[in-house]
């Protein structure tokens, strides 16, 4: 066990090895691939437990570094290090993925791409572990990119669905926008600090100018926003629900989307010195939490409700980061991972059993799906923040710190809490109560699929009592229980639940009434405020303003064809460029000579151009 704690790289190497094994021998027997998948999840979980035990003993697990480039600064080095934060994250990832792997054994049993699925899931685990145990931003970035690729391939798992392929591409491209920011931040940090590992960074960070630190913090935050689906880069996450449900549970609810929060927690020393960046985090967090919660209220697809709820809960974590308490954010991350993966797995069972994802076609599923219903209820209570579940404790701390930091932001979060409770109650009532709207008879879906949600219910309910030890294990600032905030929050949440139950007790008729009354506003919210197209334009326009004039002519055409504007504008330029390659050799040669002459002129007159550019200085 101690050896495991001192060699955290095992958490990366074993899943990678298992991924390879799955790819090679996964076809041998039906059970091989799931078992190997479970093995990789277990290795991550064991690593995490070992690290936490070691930290609890008061010892720091060993770390080591391998240098890549033989340069004197030793900047291109990668290594591993472990502490309480790393251990907790590994435990979360390992535990949730273990449940998901078991669940998948039932869910994906008949799927043809099973082997690819388990190989990619194991590879994803390796990448996530790399992000977590890496001792610097370089290793983190590598794992980060690899996660993006795995997520892309897993979203597109059911390639027969064109929507899945489009969603995969969209997720990849949108998160890449964030990745460019992250990379720019890393490069900037490197060029000024000369190092990328957290230890050296912590040593030199005081010597950097505040402007640089703020810029770096903002750029890293762009990466975190992209990965954690915060406004305005959240548009990929709802579409990502086209992938298999266990993937949604693992990647798009519990682990990968939490990587943004983890990144900021890991680089917290930078944010401590960059107050502007924390304000931005707070603002984005609150706005996302409230906005996404509203959208979740009007969705008709059960997975999309959960997707927007994930965005909203991640917004809570960002708000906690913005208020300056990364430990609280991490604690909410842990509890959220438990109850949200539980909700997703339960939703998967519901979808599997009823054959639809549409809330309006469900109803009355409580009879026949008793286990799933009980598990769901625990998860729903935690999400709504009702005492005594884990969600109550973690959300209470966030509400308290945000309110004491910034009262209006706190008020908005209280409102969000009420809305959260409302949509949770709405979904629960629509799915499990009321008249049955489907011809299919509800049934449980086998042991592999009903046990994991029940196991997950244990942490979803009980984790709240571990708040103090777990935050202290991470060596973060602990925030105590605040009675007034807790009372108000509970009251607000109960109000939300009451409204939700009251309005929807007789099925989806309330939705229809609302829709008729509100008209366009309803559709506007349901489409996520139509932010998709806005974001597409705001991403594409500044980056390629060159083509703006031409863009106008074929706007509609291009937006339809390409996933985001960047791609379409580049396509357009590429199309123009192809006219240069017209098959005429002599034109090619002319092009070369024009280039030669231009280079000569540039070279000869560079002094003057330089003077002109620098304004005579």
């Amino acid at each position: 066990m101690m050896w495991l704690a001192d060699n955290a790289w095992v958490a990366v190497a074993l899943p990678a090895l298992f991924a390879l094994l799955v790819a090679l021998v996964g076809r041998a027997d039906r059970l091989v691939a799931p078992l190997l998948g479970i093995g990789s999840a277990a290795s991550v979980l064991l690593s995490g437990i070992a690290v936490l035990l070691t930290v609890a003993e008061g010892r720091t697990p060993a770390a080591a570094t391998i240098r890549w480039l033989p340069s004197e600064e030793g900047i291109l080095a990668i290594g591993w290090s472990a502490d309480g934060l790393v251990g907790s994250m590994l435990v979360v990832v390992g535990f949730v993925s273990l449940m998901v792997m078991v669940y998948s054994a039932g869910y994906m049993a008949a799927d043809e791409g099973r082997v690819r699925y388990y190989a990619l899931l194991s590879l994803f685990l390796a990448a996530m572990s790399l992000v977590v145990v890496s001792d610097g931003l370089l290793g983190l970035f590598i794992g980060w990119e690899l996660m993006g690729v795995c997520s892309y391939l897993l979203i597109g798992h059911w390639t027969i669905k064109p929507a899945a392929a489009a969603a995969a591409k969209k997720a990849f491209l949108v998160t890449r926008v964030g990745d460019v920011g992250l990379l720019a931040g890393i490069v900037l940090l490197w060029s000024h600090a000369g190092a990328l590992d957290y230890e050296s960074l912590a040593a030199v960070i005081d010597t950097l100018s505040p402007d640089i630190l703020t810029t770096v913090a903002l750029l890293l935050a762009v990466g975190a926003i992209g990965k954690s689906a915060q406004f305005p880069l959240h548009i990929w996450l709802p579409d990502a629900m086209e992938g298999p449900t266990p993937v949604s549970a693992l990647i798009h609810a519990a682990t990968m989307v939490a990587a943004g929060v983890f990144l900021i927690a890991r680089t917290w020393p930078i944010y401590e010195l960059a107050p502007l960046a924390t304000y931005v985090l707070l603002g984005i967090g609150v706005a996302t939490a409230l906005g996404a919660a509203l959208v979740a209220c009007v969705q008709t697809d059960i997975k999309r409700v959960l997707a927007f709820s994930t965005i909203s809960q991640l917004g809570f974590m960002f708000a906690a980061l913005g208020a300056g308490y990364w430990g609280v954010a991490m604690f909410h991350l842990v509890t959220h991972a438990a109850f949200k993966s539980l909700l997703f797995l339960a939703a998967g069972s519901v979808i599997h059993s009823s054959g639809t994802q549409d809330l309006r076609k469900m109803g009355g599923l409580r009879k026949g799906m008793q286990f799933t219903f009980e598990a769901w209820t625990f998860g729903a209570l935690a999400l709504a923040g009702i005492f005594p579940t884990s969600g109550f404790f973690s959300k209470d701390k966030i509400l308290y710190i945000v309110t004491s930091e910034n009262l209006p932001a706190g008020a908005l979060l209280f409102l969000t809490t009420a809305i959260t409770a409302y949509y949770v109650a709405r979904v629960t009532v629509l799915v499990f109560f009321g008249p049955r709207n489907s011809r299919k008879k509800p049934h449980e879906t086998g042991l592999a699929m009903s046990i994991p949600p029940l196991i997950l219910a244990i942490p979803a309910v009980g984790l709240g009592y571990l708040a103090k030890p777990s935050i202290e294990l991470m060596a973060a600032e602990y925030v105590g229980f605040d009675l007034p905030v807790a009372l108000i929050a509970t009251g607000v949440a109960l109000l939300g639940v009451a409204i939700g139950v009251f309005l929807h007790r007789s099925g989806p008729s309330a939705d229809i009434a609302f829709e008729r009354r509100l008209g366009g506003v309803w559709g506007w919210i349901q489409a996520g405020y139509r932010l998709d197209s806005v974001v597409q334009k705001s991403v594409s326009r500044p980056s390629l303003g060159l083509a703006r004039a031409a863009y106008r002519h074929i706007d509609r055409d291009l937006v339809d064809r390409a996933v985001i504007g960047v791609g379409s504008t580049a396509n357009f330029l590429g199309e123009r460029l192809r006219r240069l390659q017209n098959g005429d050799t002599q034109w090619y040669i002319s092009m070369g000579f024009i280039g030669l002459i231009v280079l000569y002129s540039l070279s000869v007159s560079w002094d003057r151009i330089h003077v002109w550019l620098t304004g005579g200085g």
Binding site: I66, G574, T585
Partner: protein, 495 residues
Amino acid sequence: MNVEAWWFVLSPVTIAFAGGVAALILDGWDRRVVAIVVTIISALVAAGASAWLASGSTSFVLADVLLIDPTIYAVWALIFGLSALSTLGGAVRMSRLPAGGGVSALVAFLSAGSALISASVDLLLIVILIEVLAVVGYGLTASIRTSGAKEAALKYFIQGSVATGLFVLGLALAFGLLGGSTEIAALGEGTAQAPVVALIVSLLILSAFALKLGAFPFHSWAPDVYQGAHPAGASLIVVVPKIGALSAMFLIAEVLMRPLEGSQTAPLQPTLLFSVLAIASIIFGNLGALRQSDFGRMLGYSAVAQAGYALIALAVGLITYPGAMLLMTVYGLAASTAFAVAGALRAGHSSWDGSIRGMSGLAASRPWLAASLAVSMLSLTGIPLFAGFWGKLSVFGLAAAEGFIFLTVAGVLGSVFSFAYYGAVIRTVYFDQPSDTRVPDTPTSPTEALTDTGVRYRALPGVASVVGAGVLVIIGVVPLFIGLTPLVRFFGIGG
């Protein structure tokens, strides 16, 4: 100087050359398959000999024009290894050509010429060897004898001849006005007195090299040749000479151009020139590759972008030489793997039209080929865990460390963007349903089996692609644990 041992020093080149001559003779007897096998074996032996010599520490100078040291041997080992891989990848198609043995001989001569060019420190020798590479290129491009291939070859010939003219003119000015010698080191002494002459000489010579490297604005031949040429030919025409040309460009940049940078009277700005070329190549290559439907053409444009990444190294300076060689080599390996997949498809699906669309459903029918293709595409993009990542890291990383933030950003953005078309290939292969028009795997007909050696010969390109992909993954993963140092030391620094 160690004249007695010249045969020993040049033994890898001699072995490859002898393999080529033997292939020619065997082709005369119409033993094409044997001829191809002989060249593969001789290339492998030459690669082994180079690797063995690279582990030594002695440097040799031959007749003041060839400078051979362990670094050069390391480059040779790569050149001959890639040559063997490419021949393997194109073997089936090659054996069906009327002069297939001649094609494999050309490949052997090409590798010998490229090896010599990487060791040469004399402009006259370089110009002659470049012409050797060019003539092999024309021959290999036209060797499949379709009208498109011949057209591409003829156009390549016209552009290449103009470049030769420029090179000879540059050589004339250098020879006459910069010291009366063709040795590059001697030319360097004359540049200080005649900066303007040095500028025009450098530009003329670099234009010729830019054409070899496929860099903007001399890139136009690349898509045509990549599309038209024989798979083995294409991967070699575009891969192996680039390693030699890049090596020579570094020499010229350092000796002829770099000493003049920053001096008040000098108009020569190598950093500026290479930066402009690099960024233009990255933009043109990436945009051009985006909407291609032909697999070879897409690779051709992407090669322009890859040349741009190598030019970043030239802008930064000699310190990035090992990184640039690593970048070029892993690019070559990935491109050879991709071409080997194309070769296997041509061998198996004789109805394959060369389009990316036509590859759909490959994952289901031939999973190993599809996996090799995916690995090579990911490596070309520069995704971590694949060899391409280390090549780009070692160039972009040093560029950033030396303060060339702008070039680093251009390179990284270009790489990110490139996934749009590399990823599209992966998506087509894995996710798209095969189109109705695609004819399924054609059965082995007696003429195709070609069993004169008794081997299941059709599998060779597939084997080559899997070997290439395996090496890409190994190079990609191993440095995670042992660091890049051994890899970079292989290319000559840090030791």
